[in-house]
Every structure is written in C-alpha cells, then in structure tokens.
C-alpha cells in the first residue's frame, strides 16, 4: 500500500495551495478530487481579485488579509491577474454619505483607497453610470480562478505532490483515535484503492461536512449558493463595485471579452447540482444596469451558481455568516488526531488558507519548516500537463 505523509481531500484552490505548501516543507502529499480539478466552488468564480475594500466596513481582518494576499499574488502569479484596479461608485445618497467612512476603513486595513473626481472616473471608464456621485479607486483586479488554481497544482506537482482527479474518498481509516489512511474509489477504473498516511486535510469546501462524516467528525459548514451572470463584451477594464454596505448584485468584474455581475446569496442544504433561479438572473441584470447602464442589453452569455463554503452554522440569511477562514484540528478537539479541516475564505485567499492549515499539519507531524509559498513565482499553469 502506498504511503504519503498527508492526503489532501479536495481539488479546488484551497487544496491546491495546501498541497503546494506541504510539498515545499518536504512532506509527501497525495491530493484527491472526486471530479475534475476545480469543478466545485473554485471554478465557478466571479473572478475578482479582492483588494479587501468590499470588506473594509464590515470586517477589517478579512479586508487586511485580502490586501496582503493581493500583494503576494501580484508577486508570485502576476500574469494570472488582469491588474487594472477597481472603482467603487456611490450612485445614491446612502453611498455618498458612506464614502468618507469607506475610505478611512480601507486605509485602516492598509488598502490604498483614493477618491477621484467623478469626471476622472468617467474618463477611465466611459460606460459607468453618468449619475455617479462619488468614485473611489482601489487596487482590485480580475483573476482567472481556474488558471490561478492550476498554477498551484503545477507548482505542487513540480515539488513531487501526486494529484489524482476523478478519485473520490470513500473512507477515512482510523485506529486508536489517529488517522491511518484513506480508501478511494477511482471513477476511471471503477476500482478502490487504499493509501496509508499520517494526516488528512479536509479541503472539500462546501462538501467538508460530508468528508468529515467519513471520519466520524462533525464540521459546521453552511453551503451558500451564489449566482453570477456573464454577458458578452468587455464593458470596462476595471472592476466596478457599488459603494454601499455589502449586498447582492453590486460587483461587475470584466474578464477577457466578457463582463460578470455578481452575486446573490441563499442558503442551501445540498451544494451539488445548483442552478440559478430566474429571479436571481433578472435581479442581477437590473442591478448591473445601475452601475453600467445597458449592461443587460449585451448578449447574454451564461448564468451559473457556486456553493460558497461558509464556516459555521446559521439560521440567518447566508451573508450574515463570516467569510473568515477556519482551521479545525480535530485532534485538539479530542476527537481524531491527524485530521484537519480548512473552511471558509475566498479565491483571493487561497494561498493563506493553505499556509494556515499546513502550519498545523506540519507541527503535528514534527516538521518545523516554515511556509515558503509567498517566496517563489508559481509555475505557469500549462506546466501541470507538461510535467505529467
């Protein structure tokens, strides 16, 4: 039976960053994903590189974390980012009144937000609402979340990590309160395999509770469905957000030759097979028109729904639950040594999520190497296939 120091479950951005981080610390890593890599939450991205400005008024910690990660990603993955910055537009009285607080909250979180004259904003982006009352420039950008995650996979594979797609974990084997290995089902062959390991990282996102249940563990996760709509045409170069308290339908992200409005949020019980509701699509298109008039007149391209992995349980509407990152060491809760869960976060924070959980896994395994993922350029994504 093959042995790995750590088995990472979940082939999204978080799993990819975790596999890379652990590999850089000299640990042997196997990552398994039941479908294609990034076919869950990571792929169905809005594509915003968050400077953190959106969170500045509500959660200074998340805002700071986003800004720090934006700086790191620009260094290690520069050509995975359309770094054209972002505009926050106040288009009503509420937004206008909030502008001063918004800017000081951004500065508080180390985000260099700067108010610019509305005339200048209209010069930069001609299609934005001409009735804009105030405009703030922030260091947002666009990421291709699929290719960014593939760069972490490529970098992990280059350091020796083994990545297996279409491989579903069906059992987590334990003995005397410690992780011993995993049993997986390979879709390609229809056969099962066992791998021995000393630690398991549950990076299954909104499916984390189902994976934890295989080890008899409880993980508090609330899948929240978020819908996005893409239209043809690159209407702006900069990310355009509505300046107000974070709500639904207030961010437009350009990417290649398309523009994406997002998002909505509703709690769901099952993260599988999510589809947009017709009312979500019409709500998003009309919200987009307020930021960029005639957005909805562009040819419709696609609507899709992602399951966000919110950490925690709530009976409230999804957006009330924090987007904060949560690491659970199931050994410290006295339940199962060697089993770790990483939850929450967002595409922008994939690297730090990998770092936070890897710190704990490495410590558990007696490995005292530090995190080095912020130091090196990531491999280009095509190296994932060139190296295999």
């Amino acid at each position: 039976m093959d042995y790995f120091d750590v088995v990472v479950i979940g082939g999204g951005g978080t799993g990819a960053a975790t596999a890379y981080d652990l590999s850089l610390r000299g640990l042997s890593v196997l990552l398994v994903e039941r479908g294609e890599l990034t076919s869950g939450t990571t792929g169905r991205h809005h594509g915003q590189l968050h400077s953190g400005a959106r969170y500045a008024l509500g959660d200074a910690h998340i805002a700071q974390e986003c800004m720090a990660e934006t700086r790191i990603l620009r260094r290690i993955a520069s050509d995975s980012i359309e770094y054209n910055q972002g505009l926050f537009l106040a288009i009503d009285d509420e937004g206008e009144a909030l502008t001063a607080d918004f800017i000081s909250a951004c500065r508080e979180a180390d985000i260099p937000a700067m108010e610019i004259p509305v005339q200048r904003a209209l010069e930069l982006e001609r299609r934005i609402n001409p009735k804009t009352k105030r405009a703030v420039l922030v260091p947002d950008g666009t990421i291709d979340a699929y290719r960014l995650a593939m760069r972490f996979f490529a970098s992990a594979a280059a350091r020796g990590a083994v990545v297996r797609n279409f491989t579903e974990v069906i059992d987590i084997e334990t003995s005397q309160g410690e992780v011993q290995g995993v049993r997986v089902h390979q879709l390609r062959t229809g056969t099962d395999l066992r791998y021995a390991c000393r630690a398991v990282v549950n990076a299954a996102g909104p499916w984390a509770d189902k994976v934890a249940a295989l080890a008899g563990q409880d993980v508090p996760v609330t899948p929240a469905a978020g819908t996005m709509v893409a239209v043809e045409g690159r209407l702006t170069n900069m990310v355009v957000s509505r300046l107000r308290r974070p709500g639904d339908g207030d961010i437009i992200v350009p990417q290649r030759r398309l523009s994406i409005i997002g998002s909505t949020q509703r709690k769901v019980s099952d993260p599988d097979g999510l589809r947009p509701l017709p009312e979500e699509i019409s709500f998003l298109l009309s919200s987009a028109d307020e930021l960029i008039p005639d957005f909805s007149k562009q040819p419709f391209r696609s609507a899709w729904t992602a399951a966000r992995p919110l950490a925690g349980r709530s009976n409230e509407e999804g957006r009330e639950i924090s987007r904060d990152i949560l690491v659970i060491d199931h050994g410290k809760t006295g339940q199962l040594k060697g089993f770790f869960t990483i939850l929450g976060g967002k595409a922008t924070t994939l690297r730090i999520m990998g770092e936070l959980v890897s710190d704990q896994v490495a410590q558990y395994l007696g490995n005292d190497e530090p995190c080095r993922t912020a130091l090196f350029d990531l491999y280009p994504y095509d190296y994932y296939w060139r190296l295999s």
Binding site: G43, R127, R188, G233, R301, S302
Partner: protein
C-alpha cells in the same frame, strides 16, 4: 423542459452510447444537463468542467459532431431531437467525455505571456464590438491589460481535419501538425513579446507548422472565443515568407 441526450460512455476499448433524460428549466445548458445526470442517475459519468461561463475551456465536447463548449450551449437548441454528445477528437481519450488535454498544453509555446495589452493597442484580429467606447485610451493610463482570448479548450484541434488525423496517429507520425491553437499562440506570443518574435517565427516555419495547415478553416468556425486561429495562421504565413 424534458430533453433526451445520447452520451458516449466508456473507454476506446469498451464504448457504449447511453440515452439519458433530463428535466431542467428553460435556459439550461448542456453542462447543466451533464450535472443533472451525474447528480442523479449516473454518478460515475466523467466530464470536465470548471467555470460554467466559457472562460476555462475545460468542457469542450462534440455535439452531433460539432465542437462546442457544453456550458455555453443551450439545451433547447436540440428540442425535439436526441443530440449525440461525444468527447473531442484528436486528443487521447480518457473515459466517457474526458480527453487528456496535455497533448495541447505540451505543444503550446513554453513560458508564453498569458496576459496582453488591451485591444486598442493593436495586434487585434477580431475587435470586441462592445469595446467600441473603449477604443480611445484614457489619459494618464499607459494601458489596461487582459488575459489572452484563447482558453485552450481544444475545439479547433478536434475540428481541424489535419490534427484530427495526425494527432490520433501520433505514435506513427514523427512530428504531426502543431495545430491551430498552437499556431495562434505562437502568433500571439510573437506580438506580445518582441524579444521572442524571431524565435516564434522560426517555430512557425517548421515543416509541421504553418506549412502543414491545409486551410480548411474549421478551426475558426468552431472557436467559441473569437480567436479565429485560421486568421492567425494566415498572418504567420505572410510574416514568414
């Protein structure tokens, strides 16, 4: 809305066509249908997908023989018929609708720039019609950037009669036609990176480069992202004369 789909399943050695019925709201895509089938009657159905909005390039398949992105293809286009869904041709088949995409990625120009200066700077083959208002560059901004158009979905490789034959016989042919996506990438790199222009043109001059293109232009016809590989090949042809 009920719709039946005929899906090629299994491996090259063991192929069977299955018919599945899905029941989805109008406006759903073929990818939504595949998700419906996988989360329902066929949990072992293998297909590639990620972004669901035509920017990752993983979900290219052939429907009734034509290359499309499953996520951008509406189910109602096939109302009243039973479309046949198959994996891309030319690529090595894995299982069900999955092909091994590495044969494209390994041929792309190594370490090419993945980001470009926005359209109005030049080198554009198909201008973005929505970008008319953006053609003028705002004062004080050197340039905006954006990702390359090609999403490496492989549709053109599967549609090109030359690659379709020569990639499939890869073990027999020493150096098969590079293929439309690869030549388009070579041309883009020659524009994006002036230092590598000569190197890129040398690649295009190879016997399995531009010279091996037979000008069928199926590549441009199936390209879901307006890359128009055929035009890139024609431009390269002029530049290497």
């Amino acid at each position: 809305m009920k719709q039946s789909l005929r899906i090629k399943r299994g491996t090259d050695e063991d192929t069977l066509y299955y018919v599945y019925e899905v029941d989805l709201p109008s406006g759903s895509s073929v990818l939504d249908a595949l998700e419906f089938i996988r989360t329902g009657t066929a949990p072992d159905l293998m297909y590639r997908h990620s972004c669901h909005h035509g920017s990752c390039g993983t979900c290219a398949v052939r429907i009734n023989g034509k290359e499309v992105l499953a996520c951008l293809t509406k189910l109602e286009d096939f109302a009243g018929t039973v479309p046949t869904i198959e994996p891309l041709a030319a690529f090595k088949h894995d299982k069900d609708l999955v092909v091994e995409p590495g044969s494209l990625f390994r041929r792309l120009p190594k370490d090419a720039i993945k980001i470009r200066i926005s359209e109005w700077i030049g080198g554009e083959i198909n201008r973005d019609p929505a970008g008319e208002a953006n053609q003028a560059r705002p004062g004080g901004i050197e340039h905006f950037v954006r990702f390359e158009d090609c999403i490496e979905c492989g549709a053109c490789i599967s549609a090109c009669p030359v690659t379709r034959q020569s990639w499939a016989e890869e073990s027999l042919t020493a150096s098969p036609f590079m293929g439309p996506a690869v030549l388009a990438a070579i041309h883009r790199e020659s524009i994006n990176n002036s230092e590598r222009r000569q190197e890129m043109l040398e690649l295009a001059k190879l016997p399995n480069g531009v010279a091996a293109c037979e000008k069928h232009f199926d590549c441009s016809r199936v390209c879901p992202r307006m890359v128009a590989p055929g035009k890139h090949i024609e431009q390269l042809r002029k530049e290497i004369l």
